[in-house]
């Protein structure tokens, strides 16, 4: 456990307009703290941030356009390359959308496997975020400690799905293979490892007085702002906005599972940090409920070789590690989508950045941006 410290934040009142005495710096596209090729043009007055303007597109591949020429089986693999840290959940959203259009009934075993994989991916993603977050505020050691648990999940993924990051394990109607015979044992080993190590996270980072000083009272977002800017996931839940798609619009078997939606009301960086840490525990809860209860049966529904969605529009929403991912398929009845739109969580979460850190210091920008958990390919698509 860690000790809570009351932090009084006194952000100095510097006039927040451009003009005399201000200068701009470019953070990115190559910068240690942007976790990729995000480019922010920052106007500064001394150390105080006056304006932030994101420049995107350095890794834009126009996945939406690419998908227009791929069949419904093929397009799923491309979405792994959007939010590569929750690749599995992206694939899940696409598979769900195709199943909704084709009205395919997914076997119970496949549903459980999918949810298990989703939650493992979510833990892995939050693990990496935790390490990167600590690195953003200047602590290097937690990064390596986070990788210890994350690698265990990646090994499990590698054994069952055949790849560590971009698994492409989902197919319309189920999953590609059955789970590996070792899967259950290794997941249980992981649960044991996780439980024996999770207290170190609090010892190393959460309870640290310097860390709490850096996070508390920084980047405060009100619930109204969060909704208006369309933020989802831990960013919104840190401000007390209930937005967990798994609870609100349950898909697969989430309505039968016991887990809590983590809500914090402070709305600052520390609240968002705590939401993610607690979400990891909730995911562990889900995995624990399912790991011994994988029903027997098919892992894949019988589908036609060539999938054709009926004419119409289909929208599915899932909860990725970063927030709400929407997949919007417009079908003309052919084998390829007519138009596909991915409503990515990162894009909306990034738009609040300027509002969030105006008037803060450069150090705060990095810390607050870390709590947004941006994955740049997810923003650029």
């Amino acid at each position: 456990m860690y000790r809570e410290t009351q932090i009084v934040s006194d952000v100095s009142k510097v006039p927040l307009e451009g003009g005399e005495g201000t200068f701009t710096i470019n953070v990115g596209p190559q910068h240690p703290a942007t976790h990729g090729v995000l480019h922010l043009v920052i106007t500064l007055n001394g150390e105080t941030i006056i304006n932030i303007e994101p420049h995107l597109g350095y890794i834009h591949r126009s996945i939406e356009k690419m998908c227009e020429s791929l069949t419904y089986r093929q397009f799923i693999y491309v979405t792994s390359r959007m939010d590569y840290l929750s690749a599995h959940i992206n694939n899940h959203a696409c598979a769900l959308c195709v199943e909704k259009g084709m009205q395919i009934e997914v076997p119970a075993r496949a549903q459980v496997i999918r949810v298990l994989m989703d939650e493992l991916t979510r833990i892995a993603s939050h693990e990496l975020w935790w390490g990167a977050m600590a690195m953003d505020v200047g602590a290097f050691t937690p990064f390596f400690h986070a990788f210890r648990e994350r690698e265990t999940i990646n090994d499990i993924m590698e054994e069952t799905c055949g790849a560590r990051l971009t698994m492409n394990y989902m197919v319309p109607g189920g999953v590609m293979h059955d789970i590996h015979p070792n899967f259950q044992k290794r997941v249980k080993d992981f649960l044991q490892l996780y439980k024996s190590k999770i207290h170190e996270y609090d010892e190393l980072v959460t309870g640290n007085i310097i860390f709490q000083n850096r996070m508390k009272g920084v980047g405060v977002l009100s619930a109204e702002d969060v909704i208006s800017y369309g933020c989802t996931g831990p960013v919104a839940r840190g401000s007390g906005v209930s937005c967990d798609i798994r609870k609100l619009y349950p898909y697969e078997i989430y309505d039968k599972l016991e887990f809590d939606e983590v809500l914090e009301t402070a709305g600052d960086s520390f609240a968002r940090y705590l939401v993610r840490l607690k979400e990891m525990n909730q995911s562990i809860r889900i995995v624990e409920q399912l790991i011994d209860n994988i029903p027997e049966g098919d892992f894949q529904a019988k589908t036609k070789a060539v999938l054709k969605l009926p004419k119409g529009e289909f929208y599915t929403r899932v909860e990725t590690a970063r927030g709400e991912l929407g997949v919007y398929i417009v079908s003309e009845g052919g084998t390829t989508p007519y138009r596909i739109k991915f409503r990515s969580p990162g894009f909306s979460n990034l738009s609040i950045l300027n509002h969030m850190v105006k008037g803060a210091k450069i150090g705060d920008l990095i810390a607050a941006m870390g709590t947004l958990d941006l994955v740049i390919p997810d923003i650029d698509r």
Binding site: P54, H55, L56, G57, H60, S62, E64, K65, S69, D225, I227, S228, Y229, G230, C231, T232, V241, S242, C243, L248, G312, E313, Y315, R317, E324, G326, Y328, V330, Y338, R339, K341, R343, F347, S348, L350, S351, I352, H355, D380
Partner: protein, 152 residues
């Protein structure tokens, strides 16, 4: 509110709106000129209270463009889809970035990808495409890029 209740409520607000059947959410077709008024009503009416714009996109139908707005209410937990048909040669619609701030980025994306001109948008510049991008809009159906697009 259920879709039926939403339908009656919205018909009161905007009698010219037409509805599409099918789909899990209520699909509303409106004229682009009505959009600003309608959006304000949707956001501010306490029984509708659509405060969360969760998807904003555009579809190129080769003959015309369609703006698609997916709206949700965090209070009442109901969703609607609003569609507005735009002229393909001179697509123009009022911005809603002051009603839902998330529209700011999403409209900039649609602006560069489809060439839709959002009237009164505070900062309508290229967001994803490189500075000085000229020519066609990448997500339109007639876009060709012989260098970077590989035909399979």
């Amino acid at each position: 509110m259920t879709n039926e209740e939403l339908k009656t409520k919205i018909t009161e607000l905007l009698p010219t709106a037409t509805y599409e059947e099918g789909g899990e959410w209520l699909n509303i077709n409106i004229e682009p000129a009505d959009w600003l008024f309608f959006a304000q009503q949707l956001r501010n009416d306490s029984s509708l209270y659509f405060d969360y714009l969760f998807c904003l996109t555009c579809i190129d139908w080769k003959t015309h463009l369609t703006m698609v707005y997916h709206l949700s209410s965090t209070k009442h937990r109901h969703n609607i889809v609003v569609k507005a048909k735009l002229d393909r040669n001179k697509p123009e619609i009022e911005t809603v970035s002051h009603i839902w701030r998330t529209a700011d980025f999403h409209e900039r994306e649609v602006y560069e990808m489809f060439g839709v001109n959002f009237l009164n948008h505070p900062d309508l510049r290229l967001l994803i495409l490189p500075d000085g991008w000229e020519g066609k809009n990448p997500l339109r159906k007639d876009f060709e890029d012989p260098v970077n697009m590989i035909k399979l």
